[in-house]
Amino acid sequence: MLTPLTKSEWNYSKAAHLLNRAGFGGKPEEIRTLADLGLESAVSSLLDFEKSKHQADAMAWIDDTGRLDRLEALKKMGQEARKAQGEAKSTLEMKRRELQREVQKEQQKHLLEMRHHWVNRMATTTHPLQEKLTLFWHGHFATSIQKVKDAYSMWRQNEVFRKHAAGNWRHMLLAVSRDPAMLIWLDQNQSRKQHPNENFARELMELFTLGEGNYTEQDVTEAARALTGWTYSRTRDQFEYRSLMHDQGSKTVLGRTGMLNGGDVVEAILTKPQAAKFICQKLWLFFVDEEPESVVVENLAGQFRRSNFELRPVLSSIFSCQKFYDPSVMGKQIKSPAQWLVGSVKMLEIPLPQPASVSTMLKSLGQELFMPPNVKGWDGGLSWINTNTMVHRMNFVATLVHGSINPEGQEMTKRRDARRQDRETRRSKPAPVAGWARSEKSIDGLIASFEKRFLAVPLRQEQKATLKQTWGGKSIPDEKQLRGIVQFLLAAPQYQLC
C-alpha cells in the first residue's frame, strides 16, 4: 500500500486538486462540498460512479439503421465502378462520388456532434472521473475516425471505455480487442491464417499492455497468428470469430505454447509481471506526474495483480496516497486541451460553445478527440504547449470570458436570423463575473478570491502588481473590467497548470 494522506492534511486546496485531476475541476461550491466529505468519502464519491446512473441523451443518429446500408451501397458502387468500362465507368464513378460526398458530410456532422456531446458530458456529468477515465482510455487505445470513417463505431468504442472505465483490465482488454473500431483501425479484420497481419498484435504488446522491449519480434508474429479469425462483420456490424480464418496450429507467445487464440494471447500477456506495471505506470503518468518512482509502480502493480486486475482499488490508492498531494505534484501538470476547455466552462459557469467551435478549439489546441495523431495517442505534458497552442489558448480565453458577442451586443443586431441570434446568445453568454465579486470589498480581496477560483498555482508578485495597476482604482472594478481581470488570469501561464 502507498502511504495514505493523513486525515488532518485534507483541506480545500487538496480537494480542489483531487477534483482537477480525477475530474475537470469545478466551481468553489463543488470543491467545498468535496472538502467537507473528508478524504475517504471524497475519493469514493468520485470513484463509485457505478452506484448511480448518469442520464445523458445520446446523439439522435445513434439509432439510425440506414447507416450501414449507405456504407454498403458506397462500397458496392466502388466495386462496380472499378469493374465497369468506358462511359458506364464514369457514370458510376460520378454517382459514387456524389454518394461519398453525402456520406462524408454526414460523418463530419456526426463527428462534430459527438465531440460536443462528449465534451459537454465531461462538463456536466455527476461522474467526472468516469469521463476522465474514458478520456484516458481513448488516449491509451488511441483510435482515429480518419481510418475507421464511421462516427457510430467511434462512439460505440467510447462506450466500451466508459463501461469498463474503472472496471477490470482483463475485461477491458478483451472488449477492446473485439471492438469493431479497433479491428478496423489496426487491420485485425484483414488478418487471416494464410497472411496474418501484425499490426494489432504489435500494438497490443507495444502500446497497450507491455511496452516496447518487453516482447520479441517472434512474439508479435506468433500473437498475430493466434489472433487470426478475430474479425469484424460489416453486414452484422459486430465482432465475429471466423474459424476458417483462424490459424489452428500451435504457437508460442511470451513463453506460453499451445493452440492459442486471441483470448489466450491476452492471458499470456497478463501473466507477465510487466503487464501490471505498464498500465499502473501509465495511470500514474496521466493522473499524478511524469516520473513515477519504481517503488510506487511496483506497489501499485502488486495491488493490481492481487485484486485480479481490478482498476478501482488501484485508482483509489492513487487518489488517497500522500504522494498524490505532494507539493511536487500539485499544480505541476499541464492541462490537456480537453481539461482546459471543460475546466474553463465549469469554472466560468458558462455553457459549452457550439459544436463547430468546440471542434475548432480542440483542433487548434492539439487534441482532436476521436482523431488522435497516431496509435500512440497524445504525448501530453509539455507536448501540449508550444507557441502555436499558447496563442490559441490566449485567444480562446477571450471568447469564453466575454462570450462570442461583444458586451454591447452590436454584432448580433446585425444578424437577420432572429432565431439564430437567440440560440447563439444563449450558447455564448459571457461569464457571470459580477456575482463572484459581490462580497469583495477591496481589490486585494478580489484578486485573492479570483486567484483561488481559477489558479492552482499562485500569481507572481509582478502579475498582481500589474492587475492592481491596471484595474485597481478607487473602487471595485465594473463588470467589464472584472472580465478583463478574469481574462488576464486565464491567459496567464499559471492557468495552464493544475
Binding site: Q107, Q108, S359, P373, T387, E411
Partner: protein, 437 residues
Amino acid sequence: MRNPTFYTRRTFLKRAALGGALCSSVPSFLSSTFRAMAADQRGPLQVETGSNGRIFVLLQLAGGNDGLNTLVPFDNDHYHRARPSLRLKKSQLIELNPEFALHNALSGFKELYDAGNLSIIHGVGYPNPNRSHFRSTEIWHTACDANKVEKYGWLGRYFDHSCKGSDPTVGINIGRQTPQVFAAKNPLGISLDNPENYKIRKNHQGAGEKVMSMNGEMLSDDNDSPEGETISAIGGSSKSGLAPLDFLERTTLDAQVSSEKILAVTRKTRVEGNYPNSSLGRSMKLAAQLIGGNLPTRVYYLSQGGYDTHTNQPGAHQRLLSDLSGSIQAFVQDMKAQKNFERVVLMTFSEFGRRTAENANTGTDHGAAAPLFILGSKVKGGFLGKPPGLAPADLTPGGDLKYGVDFRSVYAGILDRWLEVPSAPILGRKFEPLNFI
C-alpha cells in the same frame, strides 16, 4: 553584441510591461525570463541568418517510407522476386542510371537530379534497428544509439550549443505539435500551422465570431485512401530542462514576440510556386513565405504523414510521393525566384524503410534502412553510400535491408558542413561527416 534580436526581445518586454497589454502576463515573469536570457549570453553565439545565412529544412516522411519503391533497383532480380505484385514496371519509373530509377511520381526529384542539386544517399539507418514507429522516430529525432534514451533532439542540442540567446524564430516547426527534434534544455523555436491564426488578438471583440467561423477538420476527402492513416504525424514527446511554469512562461513570451512578426512577414511576402493543395503543400508554401520574409531562421521542420502502407500500397504511395515531389518542386521554384536557393538545403528522412518482401495485403511492413534525399544548390549531386544488398543472404535475419550509412554521419555532414558548427558535441561523439556538400 552581435545579436540584434536580443534587443527586439528586450524592447518588447519593456513595451509590454508599460503598456499592460490585455493578454500579457508578460510583465509578471519579465524578471525571471530576463535573468535566464542574460545567462544565455554566455558561450559562443551563431550569427543570425537574417537575409544571407544558411537555412536547413528537415522534412519527415512519417510512417516509414518504402525506400525500395522510392528509389528502385529495377534491374535487380531480388527486387522483382521480393515484390511480385508491388514491383514497379519500367513505365512507372524514371531511370537515373542502369541500376536505379525513381518512382515516376518523383518527376520533381528528377529535375533536381539532372541539375546536380539532388544528393541521394543509399542505405541510411543505424545498428540494431527498431521497428516501432515511435521508438525509431525518437532515435532519429534524438540521434541516440538504439539501446539508449536521450531526452533532447539533435536540432534542440544544436540550439543549446550554438544559438543561445537567439530570437525564438531561429527554429520554426510548421505544424501543431513541437517535434522532439527541437526538444532542448533551453527550448528555442516556435510552432505554427496557419499564420492568420498565429496572432494574439488585442481585444476580444470579434474573437468569438472568428472561432465560430472556422470549421473543424474535414475528414479525409478520399475514400479510396488506403490504410496509411494510423500514422498521420509522430511528433515525439517534448522534453525540456525547464520546470513546467518556466517552460510556459518562456513559450508565452516567445509566442508574443514572434506572432506579430510572423503575420507581418506572411502578409507581405507572396510566393508564386504551384503547390499541391495538401497539408504538405501548404506547409512548404508557408516555409517559402517565411524564408522570403527574411526571418532569422536557421532551421525549418515539416512533416508529411501517411507512409505506413501496410495495405493497398500502390495508390497511396503514388499520391504521397506525387505530393512530396510537387511540394518540393514548387518550393525550389520559389527559392530560386527569391534568390534564396543558394541558402537552402533540404533533407528528407523517415523513421524506417519497409520490409524487402511485400506482405499479403499488397502492402509492406515495417523495415529498416532506406535511401535519404538531400537537395540544394550547394549539395553534390548524385549518389553516395553503397546500395544495400537485396539477396536473402544480405538481409537482416528479419528480412530487412542492412544499413551502410549511419544516419548520424548525415547529421554530422549537415552540422559540420552546412550549419558550420562542430558536430561532435551535439551528436555526443564524432561521426565522420558525410561528404554531400
